[in-house]
């Protein structure tokens, strides 16, 4: 069977190579010209085309100077084109193909059917439900990201203010970054799990042992008493707590690393000046330190939200491939995966475009808000 996809790509690849070759050629020429120019004007004089040649060269060098930024970003753009933009365009196309079958490449017609079915939750293949996944993801993200950023800020400030053991603390706090999220999800699950039967309890889990020894909560299962129903959406809040705790824990190291290193690079003169002015420590923190590292904080929050909207592996580590029961802990990416493994790529692509749109909106809001506070 001929694969149109393949042919298309092969052509695309060749075109890219062509373009690349032309680009190289272009700059080689310009380089040669520049060299020729440097060697002396005598040549051009002899040629007798002084006026036109000069303006052309000038024009070109001016153009080159104005647009030399493109030269800098070129390698990145080429790679992005092949490995990021092309897949996205591909996804866009697929999302509008109805009943697209990834295995055979067949589809019948174009339209919005995939999107409608995704939004209605009418996909009928045992996959996750869109609204549930959206609510889950938004709640996880908007609770865990601010909390972990705030905590990271406090920890970084505390780290910055001590001298002894600073290294040791910093090293230990960075440890979670080096671990595997699937394995760590499983570890967290054991902290919260009650293992036992009706007649005999083996363990109530470390968290229950510390906080609820008498009335243990089955965090990982939720169940009737621990679930709020909002229409079709279920909120098993005990499971939410587990996820949020995990998210905070796993998000901290990177945030601490970034905040701490930017705290260290804040000019000490500012603090000296503040001291002379008699500002208190808390005033210094909120009025001087925070604004100075605000670009970093806004970076962390924005990327944190983006990362949060894309979380997946941790949930699988915590709740297994099914992400809870019937995907009740599903996330947006989990939603996409559930349809990828179902072979329903159309829904997966439609879902990912919706996710893209949602994150886009959030980011625009985010940028607007942060623009007011920092010069972005």
């Amino acid at each position: 069977m001929a694969n149109p996809e393949k042919n298309f790509f092969a052509k695309f690849g060749e075109k890219c190579k062509d373009l690349w070759g032309k680009f190289i050629g272009l700059f080689k020429k310009s380089e040669a010209k520049a060299q020729a120019a440097a060697e002396g004007e005598a040549c051009t004089e002899q040629c007798g085309m002084i006026g036109t040649e000069l303006t052309k060269r000038e024009k070109f060098s001016r153009f080159l100077k104005a647009e030399q930024g493109w030269l800098f970003v070129l390698p990145a753009i080429i790679l992005l084109c092949i490995f990021t933009f092309y897949p996205i365009i591909n996804a866009f196309i697929r999302a509008f193909q109805q009943n697209y079958n990834a295995l055979t490449g067949n589809y019948n017609g174009w339209g919005f059917e995939n999107f409608i079915r995704v939004l209605k939750g009418d996909t009928g293949t045992g996959g996750a439900k869109f609204v549930q996944c959206l609510v889950n993801t938004v709640i996880f993200t908007f609770i865990s990201v601010p909390l972990s950023t705030l905590l990271a800020l406090l920890i970084s400030v505390a780290l910055n203010s001590i001298k002894a053991l600073q290294r040791a603390y910093q090293t230990i706090l960075f440890l979670p970054y080096l671990t595997n999220s699937l394995a760590m999800g499983a570890v967290f699950a054991t902290f919260f799990t009650i293992v036992g039967t009706k007649n005999h309890t083996d363990t109530i889990g470390i968290v229950n042992m510390i906080f609820f020894p008498n009335n243990p909560i089955d965090w990982m299962q939720g169940g009737t008493g621990y679930t709020w129903n909002l229409g079709a959406v279920k909120i098993p809040w005990t499971k939410y707590v587990v996820v949020i705790v995990y998210e905070i824990w796993s998000g901290l190291p990177f945030k601490i690393l970034i905040l701490f290193s930017s705290l260290q690079s804040v000019n000490k003169q500012y603090y000296d000046a503040a001291k002379i002015d008699g500002a208190s420590k808390s005033t210094t923190l909120w009025k001087i330190t925070t604004p100075l590292i605000m670009p970093m904080i806004s970076y962390l929050i924005i990327t944190g939200i983006m990362g949060g909207m894309k979380q997946y592996t941790a949930i699988v580590g915590l709740f297994g491939e099914q992400m809870g029961r019937d995907y009740d802990m599903g996330t947006m990416v989990g939603y996409i995966y559930s349809y990828v493994s179902n072979g329903q790529m159309g829904y997966a692509f439609a879902g990912s475009l919706l996710l893209f749109a949602i994150i886009m909106v959030i980011t625009v809001i985010n940028l607007r808000v942060s623009k007011k506070r920092v010069t972005f």
Partner: protein, 320 residues
């Protein structure tokens, strides 16, 4: 919290100014503050460390102990057998440990170096240079950050297969060389550097490139080191992609670690090797041991690089 306590001590009305008393108060405040700071940090450190500790402990107990419903937090005896088994077992059809180690180091090294260079020049162009369509380009790049990378995987797999890149290092290096995330981070950092420096450099006759290499890179050294470190860790931990595109002798260390550790022909009960092992269920304790082994180099790397971060920081501090 700590700051609050000090601010309280400071806000006392200064009517009868007693130097001795004031100094004493300040001293007490300082001690209280320090105690609170250390308490807070210790608490956070313990919480951060706990799951890690659990991982290490799990790699040192027997499989039945691990499967028992009561978690073993303080094993009586450490069972190094798991590590021994992992190091001694030679998989016949898979790759050897040394092979995947070489793969990981080569791929990690090359993609980190190339990646950082690309990140620097791209971030510099986006932060400092003016060219047509810059903002549009930056917006598009940011927008791609919002699309889950999982979506690319399938198309990219077909792409690299068409290019005939399967079972090579290229396929592990190129697709993830450009990270918009880090470009964004570095660009933010570059933007922080005051414009006056750039003008000063221009007056000194420094070219764009010279300015980038001589001023901006040293000034953002901490971030660059962080990016290098994170990039390397990312490569080291990459798992899904290598498994998809390469056969085992071209895969990475994490693939080796996450393979099913069902081997070893011996089941370990209470530390004694008893009989032949059956069943094809993977042994979690062996896996944990492998995960620990893989995390250890990263841990060491971090300890060393942490020093470098500090160096970079102090350098930029004096220059500031």
């Amino acid at each position: 919290m700590a700051e609050l306590s000090t601010s309280l001590t400071k806000d006392i009305p200064e009517t009868d100014f007693n130097v001795e008393r004031e100094r004493k108060k300040q001293k007490i405040g300082k001690i209280v503050k320090n105690v609170l700071v250390y308490f807070f940090l210790t608490l956070c450190a313990v919480l951060a460390f706990l799951p890690f500790y659990w991982m290490v402990v799990s790699s040192l107990i027997t499989e039945p102990q691990y499967r028992s419903p009561v978690p073993t937090l303080f094993p009586d005896t450490f069972l190094w057998k798991n590590y021994e088994l992992i190091l001694t077992q030679t998989s016949t059809s898979g790759a050897s440990f040394s092979q995947v180690l070489v793969n990981t180091l080569v791929v990690g090294g090359v993609s980190t170096i190339l990646g950082v260079v690309v990140t620097i020049i791209t971030a510099y162009a986006l932060a400092r240079m003016n060219f047509h369509g810059k903002n549009l380009l930056f917006t598009i790049m940011l927008a791609t950050m919002m699309i889950p990378g999982e979506l690319y995987t399938l198309t990219n797999y077909l792409t690299v297969s068409d290019l005939g890149w399967k079972d090579t290092y290229t396929v592990l290096i190129l697709p993830f060389l450009v990270s918009v995330y880090y470009i964004y981070l570095l660009r933010n950092n570059f933007m922080q550097i005051p414009n006056s420096l750039y003008q000063a450099a221009k007056v000194d006759g420094l070219s764009d490139m010279g300015y980038l290499v001589k001023v901006m890179v040293p000034l953002t050294a901490p971030t660059l080191v962080s990016i290098t470190l994170l990039k390397f860790i990312g490569t080291w931990n990459s798992y899904i992609w290598p498994r998809l595109v390469n056969k085992s002798s071209w895969q990475m260390i994490t693939n080796w670690v996450t393979k099913g550790f069902t081997d070893n022909k011996f089941v370990i009960y209470d530390g004694i090797v008893k009989g032949v092992r059956y069943g094809s269920e993977p042994l979690t304790t062996l896996k944990m041991a492998a995960v620990c082994m893989v995390s250890l180099p990263l841990f060491i790397l971090f300890i060393f690089c942490r020093k470098y971060i500090m160096k970079g920081v102090s350098k930029s501090g004096t220059k500031g």
